[in-house]
């Protein structure tokens, strides 16, 4: 097996004194799409935030391309530059235009927002089919456009791993399908690894190669999607059954089951 781009070992994390994640470990291979599943409140977002360094893990190790992020220093900073993030609502900076938003990561690296930076940003925007939105402000975009612009921004530093927290939340099924297709295309052309949290059954079916199922802060299953369906723990088969079972159509993918 090739060396993983992301390797998480025994990650423990929480808020205040409340423990949310208990010893989560996972490896993500280059070019792999890893879907993080679990009921609401099972710690999926907390997992992403700790891996991204938005929260400080209590203990454990997060390695990106072999560098331990918690160790700090230049090596860790460089490794962090290999992470791209697509936030739920896009999280574009409202006071900057779409073009400026896409150039922002380069500007933060000390490149002037003209010439080369503009060329790179325009190329990324056309990759997400949003060239025409260069001069618009985020407030003037639809939800789907906003996410595609955010995707362009996440890709501008040519990351090795892309993280997405419920990218299809708030999108209509068609737009959501387009976004899934775009993610697949990006993986295929850029060789990105993608770590994605989603509830949408259609997305899971379209994208999931390997899944990581979290339950109460622990890894309940880690492996290929098909294995999870065939002989995963009962809870996971139940999770999908409720979403796949045609007799239970009313509990379609858009239902959130509170356990």
């Amino acid at each position: 097996m090739p060396e993983p781009v992301l390797s998480v070992r025994d990650l423990r994390a929480g808020y205040g004194t409340r423990e949310i994640l208990k010893k989560v470990s996972v490896d993500v291979a280059p070019g792999e799409i890893r879907v993080v599943l679990g009921g609401s409140g099972s710690g999926k977002s907390t997992f992403l935030r700790n891996v991204l360094g938005l929260e400080t893990p209590w203990s454990g190790e997060v390695r990106v391309l072999g560098e331990n992020l918690a160790a700090g220093g230049h090596a860790a900073d460089r490794a962090r530059n290999h992470l791209g993030v697509l936030f739920q609502q896009g999280a574009l900076v409202t006071s900057l235009t779409v073009g400026q938003n896409v150039m922002l990561p380069l500007v933060l690296d000390g490149i002037r927002p003209d010439g080369a930076a503009e060329e790179i940003a325009r190329a990324r925007l056309s990759r997400v089919r949003l060239s025409h939105a260069w001069g618009l402000y985020p407030g003037e975009l639809s939800g789907g456009m906003r996410k595609r612009a955010a995707l362009a921004r996440a890709l501008v530093r040519e990351p090795r791993i892309l993280f997405c927290d419920e990218p299809s939340a708030g999108l209509d099924p068609l737009t959501s399908k387009e976004l899934d297709e775009l993610l697949l295309e990006l993986r295929d052309t850029l060789g990105l690894s993608i770590v994605l949290v989603t509830h949408e059954l259609d997305s899971i079916r379209a994208l999931a190669e390997k899944v990581l199922y979290l339950h109460l802060g622990e890894v309940l299953f880690d492996g290929p999607f098909q294995d999870a369906l065939d002989h995963g723990p009962a809870r996971i088969r139940d999770f999908f059954a409720r979403r796949l079972d045609p007799a239970d159509a009313i509990l379609s993918s858009s239902w959130e089951i509170l356990t």
Partner: protein, 333 residues
């Protein structure tokens, strides 16, 4: 809005629900507990993130330990906990203030970056556009004060000293203070509202993952802009108030403009101008410190943004006046 499917699960068509208040969230939470007790489940249709968040907030969590019965002195313990919390808050404030100052130097030294021209933009938004309202209000206050004081002075035949009073009042007190109060309301609230809504919409998180420091990217340009523009605005404000006094002196008290200006130049010294600038810079620091700290510590939904904005205005005016009194004690006592 609820109906039953097979398996006796309780289904809620929540896809049209945009906002839930505490009562509704409580009802849902209860329904969920009851359902789980009877081995059934509660399912929500396309719930919004906000709805789930509110439900989560009510969930004590699977492993929340029951609060242990604490022996000992509850009163002392409560006081201690409160004192500890207060001390931590003060320490965090001091850390934030130091970080703000460091951020300005890091920005100037090119060690960390913001969007090019951000400071100019803030200078315009927080400073230039405030000029009309500052001039209007100080002018009106100047007219009112001059009218009232002028009538009193005229009774004693001392109308000539209106220039002294207006000069001293507006350079030492009214000009800088009124400017600070106006900007605490106008620019302070604008800063908090902007940062808080960025926080709520995860823009700040996104900036962090891109390697930006919010102290440099967001705070430093606003701090520089306010510390540059507020002293200048305060000078304008003082001049405007004093000119309003001149109008009253000439048209109400019948003094000649030359005399007013002559007396004024004897009352106002260069030091006064210096202190206008220093005081205003300090007020600007206080306002930006509070506005940014309150804005960046918001969490929750958009309702939190409104509350944060209000507390910035209140705290900004409060601490500006405290600082102003401190200056008066040190300088003039």
């Amino acid at each position: 809005m609820a109906h039953r499917a097979q398996r006796e699960d309780l289904l809620l068509l929540s896809d049209r629900v945009e906002e839930v208040d505490a009562l509704a969230a409580g009802c849902l939470h209860n329904a969920r507990r009851q359902a789980s007790r009877t081995g059934r489940r509660l399912a929500l249709k396309s719930p919004t993130a906000r709805l789930l968040q509110r439900l989560d907030a009510l969930d004590p969590g699977p492993d929340a330990p029951a609060a242990p019965a604490r022996p000992g002195l509850p009163f002392l313990e409560a006081m201690g906990a409160r004192g500890w919390k207060w001390a931590r808050h003060q320490r965090d404030g001091a850390v934030f203030a130091v970080e703000m100052i460091r951020a300005v130097f890091d920005l100037a030294g090119g060690r960390s970056r913001t969007w090019p021209g951000a400071t100019w933009r803030q200078l315009h938004e927080l400073g230039t556009t405030a000029l009309p309202v500052v001039l209007l209000l100080t002018g009106l206050i100047g007219l009112t004060l001059a009218l009232l004081m002028g009538q009193q002075l005229a009774e004693y035949g001392a109308s000539i000293h209106l220039a002294t009073l207006m000069g001293v009042a507006f350079t030492r007190e009214v000009g800088p203070l009124l400017t600070a109060v106006i900007l605490a309301g106008r620019s302070g609230s604008a800063i908090t509202a902007e940062l808080a809504s960025m926080k709520v919409q995860e823009e700040i998180d996104a900036l962090r993952t891109m390697g930006a420091r919010e102290a440099v990217f967001l705070v430093a340009p606003r701090l520089l802009a306010m510390m540059i523009s507020m002293p200048i605005l305060a000078l304008f404000a003082s001049a405007c108030g004093i000119s309003a006094g001149l109008l009253i002196a000439v048209f109400e008290l019948g003094l000649s403009p030359d005399v007013y200006l002559q007396i004024l130049s004897e009352a106002v010294v260069a030091q006064d101008i210096f202190w206008i600038l220093v005081k205003s810079a300090v007020f600007a620091f206080i306002i930006v410190f509070l506005a940014c700290r309150i804005g960046l510590s918001v969490h929750g939904g958009s309702d939190a943004v409104g509350r944060a904005t209000t507390s910035t205005v209140v705290a900004g005016i409060f601490w500006t006046i405290i600082a102003d009194c401190a200056f008066a004690l040190v300088l003039y006592l």
